[in-house]
């Protein structure tokens, strides 16, 4: 198969901007069911995203971004990620992520009454993803 044939369109869209639009040979991202990688001609699938790192393989180099919450529509020649929040590594404030991590860990450890454990865990996950991608 020719090089151009195994590429498909990838779009990452957030409420405030079109975050990424381009062609890729493969894309990896995290869903609620685990990490998946998608090539061209994937079976049409809709998946729910979990906080994680998206890796776009453009052929020459890779692009990485942090994506939190949203969903993805996979069609055979197109993948659309509708993310609520998406960030390139250089946009992330590590100090803030660290502070958020500490806060979330503390909340989970305390197990205070009326604590939204799900929310605290999600916050913790987001903070970890942000730190991971910068490293």
């Amino acid at each position: 198969m020719a090089e151009a044939d195994n590429k498909f369109v990838v779009e990452i869209i957030t409420p405030d901007r079109v975050f990424y639009k381009g062609e890729a040979a493969m894309i990896e991202f995290t869903t609620t069911e685990g990490e998946i990688g998608v090539y061209k001609n994937h079976v049409p699938t809709t998946v729910v995203l979990a906080p994680g790192i998206v890796t776009i393989h453009e052929g020459e180099g890779n692009k990485k971004a942090a994506v939190h919450a949203g969903f993805a529509e996979i069609l055979n020649d197109k993948v659309t990620l509708l993310a609520e929040v998406a960030e390139w590594p250089e946009e992330i404030d590590v100090a803030r992520a660290k502070a958020a991590e500490a806060r979330a860990t503390e909340r989970i450890a305390q197990k205070a009454d009326g604590l939204d454990v799900m929310r605290a865990e999600l916050a913790l996950k987001r903070a970890l993803v942000r730190q991971n991608i910068v490293e």
Partner: protein
């Protein structure tokens, strides 16, 4: 004819009003530019969200979920988006009128979720009940605000307090055209054409984890994105409406000043002529 002093006083007062309206026009022009570019950058997300949900529903017939099914009991929840400040022409009253003219929504069968003080005041005055007031959001709406409001609404929806969710806002068509719009958010009802338009509906869509859970996750995001989009468009419309209103106020003031200047000069001329006549008459009487 009014005296010279009266005319002069009126002219000064109008010209100071004109200065205010001119300043307000300039401010809302700048705000409009900002809001407009913001609205433009957010549009792709909503279009995709809408298309995705359409094609999703087209490809998954026969899924039973509370978000997709009609219910008869309970009130209708209406999200009303207007502004906190007046002096924007018909902007706020058009939203009020939209709700009042809608026969499906009456004072008794609805409760309002207001974002923006002006329309809320107008509707409360007409006997509608308000369940939530989030007017402060209107100052600088963010996605988090929209998500928080929607979460609350969806909880009431799930609990059966409200059976339908509507959204009333002003659609920003372009700088001069803004039209009030009423959308039905839940239950999601798409017309046959919309589903057909989303194309290749015979491709079978898979869902992970499973269709019910995927819809459970995606529909709230769909609702949130529509509300967020409406907030952003409403801000643009508000500033557009204010800019137009202030522009016409400024030009009306200019016209009034012109007319007053004319009658002031006439009055001045009249009084000079009168004085002259008196002096001449006096001089003739002496000689």
């Amino acid at each position: 004819m009014a005296s010279m002093r009266d005319i002069k006083r009126r002219r000064t007062s109008i010209s100071s009003t004109q200065q205010i309206t001119k300043a307000m026009k300039l401010v809302s022009t700048v705000k409009l530019q900002k809001a407009k570019s913001h609205a433009e950058s957010t549009t792709p997300y909503f279009n995709y969200m809408y298309n995705t949900v359409c094609s999703m529903l087209a490809k998954t017939k026969n899924i039973h979920h509370p978000y997709l099914q009609k219910r008869e009991v309970g009130k209708k929840g209406v999200i009303v988006i207007s502004s906190n400040r007046g002096l924007a022409g018909g902007y706020n009253s058009n939203v009020v009128k939209l709700i009042r003219d809608e026969e499906e929504i009456t004072q008794d069968n609805s409760q309002l979720y207001c974002i923006g003080r002006k329309a809320m005041e107008g509707l409360v005055h007409r006997g509608y009940s308000v369940a939530m007031d989030e007017s402060d959001v209107m100052e600088a709406p963010t996605y988090d605000d929209a998500s928080r409001i929607c979460k609350q609404l969806l909880e009431s929806y799930a609990a059966g307090e409200i059976s339908e969710i509507y959204l009333a806002y002003t659609h920003f068509k372009n700088t001069v055209v803004h039209e009030p719009k009423l959308l039905k958010l839940l239950p999601v009802e798409l017309s046959e054409e919309e589903i057909a338009a989303s194309g290749d509906s015979n491709v079978l869509m898979n869902f992970e984890p499973n269709p019910e859970e995927a819809i459970e996750m995606i529909i709230p995001k769909y609702v949130t994105s529509l509300v967020y989009g409406a907030l952003i468009e409403a801000v643009a419309s508000e500033n557009g409406a204010r800019m137009q209103a202030m522009d016409s106020a400024t030009s009306n003031a200019e016209e009034m000043i012109e007319n007053l200047t004319l009658s002031y000069n006439r009055a001045r001329q009249g009084s000079i002529t009168q004085e002259l006549t008196e002096i001449i008459a006096g001089a003739e009487a002496i000689s």
